[in-house]
Amino acid sequence: MSSETRTIAVEVLRYQPDKAAAPYVEKFDVPFTDDMSVLQGLQYIKDHFDGSLTFRWSCRMAICGSCGVMIDGVPSLGCRTFLRDYHPGPLRVEAMANFPIERDLVVDASEFIDRLPSIQPWLAPRQEKPLSEGEYLQTPRQLEQFESFSHCINCMLCYAACPQYGLDKQFLGPGLTALLHRYNADSRDGGSQQRMELVHSTEGVWQCTAVGYCSEVCPKQVDPANAVNLNKTLSAVAWVARLVPGGRR
């Protein structure tokens, strides 16, 4: 990596409802060094060119999930995407697709957030026991069954990538399905039957058209597409089971 300062043209999709009714593109020439992220580029613009540029951010290290944006049309975290990879530009930064824009790069996330309780993302222990009896046992192999699905940082990039979610906001979508599966696949949990109702429903996994782009853009290798696929299988098995006399509902 070189420490020399170069300049890159950054085009930002602006939406300032207090000033203009429609979104517009504004271009900034941003000086950068090779270690600078797109987020740092946006911070540079805010500090030096236009204090009204609006975006979410916090941790700077791809774990808080705040800074999702479209970078040249690809859903990305601003903090772990680097300006050097787009030199000489122009590079286009826009609000995440498939969400209503509130201002500039800030989208309305309430659809996703408000829906979280519906998947019951908490452990419903198979067998309750008091704390005094210590932890539930879980072998590394059992942990492995769900561990990768627990890495979701709720950045919602997979929703920005999902064509089906773009068409139908009722679709549970990749991130929430992965989180639902994280609990269903946990050896300590006994709440899967209730959660599966949602999986089978019209909002559930059968809406997925198996594009797989969600997993490509996931910054944490959660592989939500795999969670959806696994649940299609589980849902199909459950459906067949209903047809068998005496089968489990």
């Binding site: 609006t54 951010w57 700077r60 500039d104 222990p125 879980q138």
Partner: protein, 605 residues
Amino acid sequence: MNSLSVSRFDVVIVGGGGAGLRAAIAAAQESPSLRIALVSKVYPMRSHTVAAEGGSAGVVRPDDSLQDHFDDTVHGGDWLCDQDAVEYFVAECTREMIQLEHWGCPWSRKEDGHVNVRAFGGMKIERTWFAADRTGFHMLHTLFQTSLKYPGIHRFDEYFCCDLLVQDGRAQGVVAIDIASGEFHMIQARAVVLATGGAGRVFRQNTNGGIVTGDGMALAYRHGVPLRDMEFVQYHPTCMPGAGLLFTEACRGEGGILTNKDGYRYLQDYGLGPADPWPRKKAMEMGPRDRLSQAFWHEERKGRTLEGPHGSYVNLDLRQLGKARLRERLPQICELAQEFMGLDPADSPIPVRPAVHYTMGGIPTSVQAASPLPGLFAAGECASSGIHGANRLGSNSLAELCVFGKAAGESAAAFARQAGFGSDANLRAQAQTAAQRASSVRRRAGGTERLAELRDAMARSMERGCGIYRCGEEMEQAAREIGDLKQRVQHVRLQDQAQAWNTEWLATLELEYQLDVAQAMVHSAIARRESRGAHQRLDAGCTERDDGRFLQHTLATRSADGSPAITYGEVVITRSRPGVRAYGAAGEAAARAETAQDKEQQGVV
């Protein structure tokens, strides 16, 4: 007049990180009928707890004991800890870790299915529970997701708290800005919990997220609550040069070493050696953070560090762990090194240097998380619970936010049961004044100052004046600069005039908080004319610990002119008399002597 909506709750909690969520759950469990407001300027899972990596303390091994955790913590804090708080803390940690497990936290496991623990700096025995190197992330998400079960918890996500309401000598609510609309909302409550995190962003190179701006500390301070031990700011020794991002202490706990430009494990020259045998506890790379950061400072002055684009650095060498163990135990570290620095820790050492990480001081609280202001409780990094003293041990802060978050939630619920709601009209008038003041920052015409310039000047000033080593003159200069910046921030001219989603406005309010906190830090540092833990001075007469004069908590109280007045408060000592704080061979010798003495006293020589 600003439009002001009003709602009423039994308890309002400010901050949706680990401590705030734990408090909310505890309060909800106390009574399902309790109405709890959880106010956070970000969605709770964005809170900075998310970035904690290495782990959380809790005695669990048969060869470990609460006494050992107590001793490590009190020694690590250079005896500035309140020992009653430490006793309570170590006794509660394990239960809280098991509680998180019952709520689903994916702790790393041993083959037999029991939870695994790892070694951490300054800790005698492995007692750090971990979820790979994403412990804070998993704890936060577990707490957030669990909180969704409780209908009594009403969240105000992306609401920015701009004032506390105090009436009849007790805290009775908050005023918050709904960020999306820019409108003010008054939340009246019978009890208030602050869980707003630390203030590391007042320094330039730091490991903290942008939101870590000391909001709750400043809010309490402005209402007459003293801030305690603010001079104690932790530099974490292994951070990314420039960005300041954290490489967890678990890197060393798993066997990583620190070397200078000659490939030499320099820590052995600073009272932490000998280097071998390795690994061993409470020695070399497993020493406490203050000592390791101080050793870096000396190496830098001796010209034995390396030079990079972001200044000097040393090497954190993890190669001996091998690819498989690195991927299993430190996956996020590998990811950070790869993505941000383009290197694989399995093949090459990671350049690191110290950066500001943690604020030991804060709002003073009792063992039950009560602040000196009735009705106001605090937990997590914004509080000074008394357990960290002059230097926090790694893995004690994640445990702290559970132990004292729970205490804060329960205490607030109990307080709310016996307290009524105050006069509505008075509170509304107060809230209007607060809203007026906050709005005037946004609407100010004719301002001359730029926000970013003042913010950067503060961070540079604090780094220069309140760094790893301090001296009177440099601190005095920082105090003058911070005082000056407090004047200048009154003249910030915003480029953004919008009401909705005006982050420039909120950042200006945050900068005002930060300057209050920074001023308390630097004045507290000047007044403490000794060296203890993370507060190390170079000026004559101040280079040693001075228990005669300074085995006391610093209290910074806001005076009429807005500057801090410094007084002192008692340190609670129950069973550990201040002794020599030693690590490495000296520490091992001291521990042997102590054990021998204990045996002698018990007559079992």
